[in-house]
Subunit: 368 residues, 2 copies
Amino acid sequence: MPKGNRLKSRLHEIRREMARLGLPALLVTDAANVAYLTGFQGTSACVVMTADRAALIVDIRYYEQATRQAPQTERVLVQGALYDEALVNTLQDLGATRLAFEADALPVARHMAVSWRLPKLELVPTRGIVERAREVKDADELVLVRAAADITSGAILRALEVMSVGMSERAVASLVEAEFWRLGADGPAFPTLVASGPRSALPHPRPGDRLIEAGDLVLIDAGAVVEGYRADMSRTVVVGPPTRKQRAVWDAVHAALEAGLARVRPGVAASAVDAACRKALQARGFAAVHDTGHGVGLDLHEGPRVAGDSEDVLAPGMVITVEPGVYEAGWGGVRLEQLVLVTPAGPEVLTTAPLAIASPCGSVRAGL
Amino acid sequence: MPKGNRLKSRLHEIRREMARLGLPALLVTDAANVAYLTGFQGTSACVVMTADRAALIVDIRYYEQATRQAPQTERVLVQGALYDEALVNTLQDLGATRLAFEADALPVARHMAVSWRLPKLELVPTRGIVERAREVKDADELVLVRAAADITSGAILRALEVMSVGMSERAVASLVEAEFWRLGADGPAFPTLVASGPRSALPHPRPGDRLIEAGDLVLIDAGAVVEGYRADMSRTVVVGPPTRKQRAVWDAVHAALEAGLARVRPGVAASAVDAACRKALQARGFAAVHDTGHGVGLDLHEGPRVAGDSEDVLAPGMVITVEPGVYEAGWGGVRLEQLVLVTPAGPEVLTTAPLAIASPCGSVRAGL
């Protein structure tokens, strides 16, 4: 739970931006934005904020949770299922005449309900006000991001150690997620990906029944979540001695990762990190097929964007992934992904599990 | 993956409803509705359908998956990140002049983008067109719902067997989810709930570090997902010999469950199931604090509504939960939840794990 003064400074920053934009009131409906401003981690809630108030509107299913997670925030209980009614009453109570809303996170139906009930209220579409504030993590957030990254590192490392020939992708995924639980996470931050052999070339390889074979590439892409904060990490290993081609691809991706990480520093364009990864892959004869990374926090994908056309500039406190990959349909793929904190001194890699092409799994070593 | 003729009959039903409502074209943006109409299980896609076409608009991250999961559906690839552009082009291509959209699932920003680019297109808000069709499951869907229910039953039963005094709630949750993987699920349908002792009274008890003690109530509420279809099931047991009060509460909830199930039959109002549960609890001196159930399918909560103010009527092929509960803050709670298929002959309980107040865990029996 964020400390009260932490929440105050988050609200303060949003209010400064609202004042700059001439917005007296803001309706926050994006769930991660609600969590950021109040500490409340559930769904179906929204926040109405003005220069001096911030009210969390929440229904009975989540009221107890809101009391626990957002004790510092004024809470408005929805009566029955009359969510629009509670919102309208709160807006009337606040005396708002001009209300900014999150255009990407407000469904048309709710917009219609509010404008129909409050025809004199001016509704102003906005984008990214809270999202931009979330890009730089504060100290409370970094504690949770670090915890999620540590657990993720530990869990993937453990799965790589225990993994053996004949085990299914599904069993490996189960191992990773069991370690998340054991190490204190609140669960996976996204569906765990495990792909072996040719399946490692798939963009979103959900773990299947395929059994791991000697010589396989095995790709694991997973992350734990701790109090809403997510981690994201990938490792790819070869089960047994790598072929020349596996080694060449792995080394190229590793070089691209290092090249990308070397550019991570405050004041550097996020697009420069992407460019460095692409250039390193091209120098070795490979093409990058996806963006190099993304910001991570309460959402798995958030700002800054780490892509060729990104206009974002890195700043201390941002947390991003650097994750180059090379894939060949029918053969396989290699992705190496680090979660990185931007510090004044450069990149701090949060996902500290070792990077190595060799699978550490015992039964394979025994079989060599 | 749904069979081609299955998808055809789903589209046919939606088109009949569109014709009835005078809607020549429909934009489907709700992810579960997209999955229902195409088989595609990813996010960030939408479907535009008319009387003779149905196009799935999908970006490069999900294109391969769409090709695999929705081979029968026409696919439109979003160029770069220009999602609105692809949508507008498709609408122009279809020659639509009047477009219905899902008011609860279309963000204002996308609505604005379409109306700005196609000022002559009439945009018509709708609600629940596809959702209502989804209430009655077809044969392909029932195969997956049954698989999810079987796995859920097996996993919770196993966790109850292995569970022992001194084990943390977190460890029990980990056990349930490991069984989901082992039994062939694609993961949990929602965050697994495990609560012991007084925590069983919480509305959404995420598993914590509390260690299970002799005499505890332990509540498990979990569900597996199989190819997008979800299950939902709860069991509550006492670890060791129940107290008189635990027995009284458990028996009341069990009686309410049986009373609710007894009302499940085609043609019966869903509110009657809710009323039967409430009446049974009241007869034993307890009050029902939450709705008795909900429809389950591609979404964890979908139609029909099983609540006092529901106007839905049960029909063969509907899948609902019946889940009465009694809670006392500081003491604990009991919830018993079955996933049920409405058949012409009455209810078919899909979650077949036994209902019993006694925890089957060995170490407790040994300690008695």
